[in-house]
Amino acid sequence: MIQLKHISKHYPVGFGKNEVLKDVDLTIFPGEFVSIMGPSGSGKSTLLHILGLLEEPSTGEYLFEGEPVQRMSEKKRTQLHRGSIGFVFQAYHLIDELTVYENIETPLLYKNMPASERKSRVADVLDRFNMVAKKDLFPNQLSGGQQQLVGIARAIVAEPRVILADEPTGNLHSDQARVIMQMFKHLNETDKITIIQVTHSEQNAAFGHRVIEIRDGKIQ
């Protein structure tokens, strides 16, 4: 599913450069549930952004489902964002001006899905997340855990093959965190969605199949 070969990433800092990722090799198979762990500033988010095609690696090769990402057109990348990759953020990043329903609906709008199918899909997801009653509320009328559920609902509504989650429970209590993790586990097991999450918590990591330790930009 995902294959990184000799990936490194550096940012220019002053006259020199700041090496964030150093020669990373990584393979993730379809259906895996992987947790990335490591101290602050070790490059976890950077790695996740590269995996999610939000950032370009400085050197190395990245194959997404066997295709080299470097050679993909802008259009193809957008296509992947619309259909194959879902994101979940620590800060939720819901659109404040839209209701729960509309937030979840947005990715489908960009896929140009017919209205009837869109409706049934959103209804489906709302039902699954037990949020039907809340569908007309705005994000600021929800608790943090509920907001993150909406974030996940939005990430999966377009039926992606992989979900990238950057500290999805970072802002939540442990109870709420457990609910989110169970949701991930469920999605992974029943829907066969590949899940890659960044986390600081051992408990959360335990929900996955495999833990990738990263330190100073190197996989341990």
């Binding site: 939000l54 259909g83 990043h93 819901l94 659109i95 839209l98 609906e105 947005t106």
Partner: protein, 806 residues
């Protein structure tokens, strides 16, 4: 998708009510102002465009080289037009045209009417369609008249006008005519207009002057044949001039006049009918200079631009705070075009809201605007396809400029930076500053120009004209009256009454009376072997006294001398042509015929008998009866001016119970001369005020944004001990610098432009540096006040609060 956008847009608008309000209101005001200005300009530019033959229709004018310079005019001798038709195959049709009367009578009812005389070709050349009566040869007979539908209704009411007998007051008597046809009302954007038109042969003086090539009276309109060109016509006109204007050419040669640029002493030219509204050579046209409508469009554009800049700055600033939404959408799979569409769509929505509001404002303001600037505009004009297309184009341009650019700027920002929060709104203010400077350059420019124009008008209005303006009443006399008798009767009944100082009359008013008339006639004669030209003014006894002119030598016309009917009173300029003030006294001039010369009995100090745009020209005043008195002048004692006015009106009513007059003081008349300038300066002042207001609305909004961004910094500075004034100064400093820069850029431009404008005036002010200081002061003051509202609020805020809110 679309509904989703609209929803977001609407929620966004409601979220930031203040900024949206500023945006929409500013833009709406700008749209309203722009619509009014465009309508005004459009009306001016639409003059005479409705003629089907407009491409072929021309007005004739002649350029004559004179000792005192080149002179162009559109008045011609009566025999010229028949000769023109005979000698030029290029001329398909031609018509003379002149105003001949102001009164028409049906049974015993008299009506005021604009009566013109013309050749039969007139109705074929111009698009004045007939709606009733004889459609083909309505002016076949000398006694036929064509009247407009409106006039027909006024005279005959519901009755059919065709073949009805009417009478027109001509040469001191009522002449009978038959209505042969009714024409559609003439559009009010037509330079050539009439209520009643009859055959040219009815023109007063026609019989005596029909072969006279020396006098000039009527205008001539020409329709060129399809193959003919203006250049070809003008080329061949040399021969024509030499053939017919022999006497004048001979005099010009004798006076040693140098030929003009084309090598000719006199030459005929044509101006397209669509330009006469803007050409002061044309007697009928020349209402305004062509620059004015374009100036209006320019100012409208300026105002709209200023509002657009506000919009742009605010949208950019506001959109950066929305960058998270934009970034998230990109991650969810939106492509750049979709984002631009969304953001631009929001701008279109706001613009639409503003346009509708603007239309409503324009609609509400229109009656007042029309009254204030004596226009006849209606929003219905917007229905004309050209204008509609223009407005739509303007609207799309506005949305592209104000919404399109910000949309593009936001859509291209880096997604990741947004989500990481490392993107800060408005870090580089380069573009914003350039735009703000442009705004204030325009506003300061308008303020400077307005101040200078206002000073000039004030200068003209207050300038001593050499005659008494505030104590002299001018009474325009009704056309159909024996005016000499009227003057005599008024003189008898008023003289000796308290408050009345002197009574006289003249053929020509001073300034512009309530009847709107202002005309002049010029005579030329030979004196000691050179030709002398002078304005010719029929006056009456005591004219010098009544107008408060200053006598330099000799005396006023007086009834005490029996010989004064052959006397002349001249001004200094005329005296100079006759050898000086003292030498001129007693000079005998062969004005009308050499057998009965007229004698100079007095010389008066030069006075401005024409608008101040023109220098004082030679003037000869006379008592020759063939130019009848048309105005009575009454000089009244200072003090109870209104009482004297009432007395004059009362006496008139006693003498002529059935006749209405509309007297006015001369100062009203001279003010009226500058009505056009006043009208336009009124529009400019309003535009300048609007421009500065809209600029400041933008400044206000920007300062709100800047202040929110700098809340923390201000808090920290306060904790460190900065004073309120210090903080206000700190925050206002940047804006003040921009405004100062703008004023410095605007001042030289304004100086140049207004210097050009002032060249039009014979009497003009010198542009004073204080104007620019004042304009700069105004702009600066308003700007500082605007910014201060925000900075004072920020400075007074509790610092702990502002530091905590992060």
């Amino acid at each position: 998708m679309f509904r989703n956008y609209i929803k977001i847009a609407w929620r966004n608008l409601r979220k930031s009510k203040l900024l949206t309000g500023v945006n929409v209101l500013g833009l709406a005001i700008a749209f309203a102002a722009c619509i009014l200005l465009v309508l005004t300009a459009w009306r001016e530019l639409s003059f005479d465009q409705f003629h089907t033959n407009k491409g072929r229709l021309q007005e004739l004018y002649i350029t004559v080289q004179r000792p005192e310079g080149e002179e162009s005019r559109s008045n011609f001798p009566i025999p010229l037009t028949p000769a023109l038709k005979q000698d030029f195959p290029e001329v398909k049709a031609a018509s003379r045209f002149i105003a001949i009367s102001g009164s028409i009578r049906y049974h015993d009812k008299t009506f005021q009417a604009d009566v013109k005389s013309a050749d039969a070709d007139l109705l074929k050349m111009f698009s004045f369609p007939l709606i009733k009566g004889e459609m083909h040869q309505p002016l076949n007979s000398l006694s036929n008249v064509v009247i407009t539908a409106n006039m027909a209704k006024k005279i005959f009411g519901a009755e059919d006008a065709i073949n009805k007998p009417v009478e027109i007051y001509l040469e001191g008597e009522w002449k009978s005519f038959i209505v042969s046809a009714v024409a559609k009302d003439i559009p009010d954007n037509s330079t050539i207009s009439f209520d009643v038109v009859c055959r040219f042969e009815n023109t007063p003086g026609y019989v005596s002057q029909k072969d006279d090539w020396g006098a000039s009276s009527n205008e001539v309109f020409v329709q060129l044949a399809d193959h003919a060109t203006v250049a070809g016509f003008e080329r061949r006109s040399g021969t024509f001039v030499n053939k017919y204007f022999t006497a004048i050419l001979r005099d010009l040669k004798r006076d040693g006049v140098a030929p003009g640029k084309d090598g000719q002493l006199m030459s005929l030219h044509l101006m397209p009918i669509t330009t006469i509204h803007f050409n002061s050579i044309s007697s009928s046209g020349g209402a305004i200079s062509k620059t004015y409508p374009y100036l209006l469009l320019l100012i409208g554009g300026f105002i709209l631009f200023i509002a657009c800049v506000n919009f742009m700055n605010l949208t950019i600033a506001a959109a950066f705070s929305r960058s998270r939404e934009i970034g998230m959408r990109k991650i969810l799979g939106a492509v750049k075009t979709q984002l631009v569409t969304q953001l631009w769509g929001e701008a279109v929505l706001i613009c639409l809201l503003a346009l509708v509001t603007g239309l409503v404002i324009a609609y509400l303001l229109l009656p007042g605007y029309n009254a204030l600037f004596s226009n006849k505009l209606s929003l219905a004009l917007l229905k004309s396809p050209g204008l509609l297309a223009g407005v739509l184009l303007g609207f799309v341009l506005v949305t592209l400029l104000s919404g399109g650019y910000p949309a593009w700027a936001i859509a291209k920002i880096n997604t990741l930076k947004v989500l990481k929060g490392s993107l800060q709104a408005g870090k580089s203010n380069g573009l914003r500053n350039v735009l703000m400077v442009t705004q204030f350059v325009i506003s300061s420019l308008l303020i400077c120009c307005t101040l200078i124009a206002w000073q000039q008008l004030d200068y003209l209005r207050k300038m001593p004209l050499g005659y008494n303006r505030d104590q002299v009443i001018s009474i325009p006399l009704p056309y159909e009256m024996d005016t000499e008798q009227a003057l005599q009767r008024m003189r008898n009944s008023l003289s000796g009454q308290t408050g009345i100082a002197a009574i006289s009359g003249a053929a020509i008013n001073m300034g512009r009376g309530r009847d709107g008339a202002s005309q002049s006639s010029i005579i030329a004669m030979d004196y000691k072997g050179h030709s002398v030209r002078s304005n010719w003014l029929r006056v009456d006894y005591d004219y010098v006294k009544a107008l408060g002119l200053t006598l330099l030598a000799g005396r006023d016309f007086s009834q005490a001398y029996g010989t004064d009917s052959s006397g002349l009173v001249i001004n200094e300029k005329m005296a100079a042509q006759l050898g000086g003030v003292q030498a001129a006294l007693g000079v005998q001039l062969p004005v009308l015929d050499s057998a009965h010369p007229l004698t100079v009995i007095g010389v008066v100090k030069d006075f401005n008998f024409k608008p101040l745009k023109e220098d004082i020209a030679p003037l000869t005043m006379n008592l020759v009866k063939s130019w009848p008195v048309q105005y009575i002048f009454v000089k009244v004692a200072p003090g109870d001016l209104q009482g004297s006015m009432a007395l004059v009106k009362k006496q008139w009513k006693q003498l002529y119970p059935g006749s209405d007059i509309d007297p006015s003081f001369l100062d009203e008349n001279t003010d009226r001369q500058y009505r056009r300038e006043q009208r336009y300066s009124g529009i400019f002042i309003s535009a300048a005020i609007l421009a500065i207001i809209i600029s400041c609305m933008g400044l206000f909004a920007i300062s709100v944004l800047v202040m929110t961004r700098r809340t923390r910094e201000i808090g920290v500075r306060k904790v460190l001990g900065a004073s309120v004034i210090g903080i206000v100064a700190l925050v206002s400093k940047d804006f003040v610098k921009l405004v100062l820069l703008s004023v410095m850029i605007a001042a030289p431009i304004a100086w140049y432009v207004m210097d050009q404008w002032l060249q039009d005036y014979a009497y003009r002010i010198h542009i004073n540096i204080t104007v620019f200081v004042a304009a700069g002061g105004i702009a600066l003051l308003v700007a500082v006040l605007t910014v201060s509202i925000q900075s004072v609020r920020a400075a007074l805020m509790n610092p702990i609060k502002s530091i905590r809110t992060e």
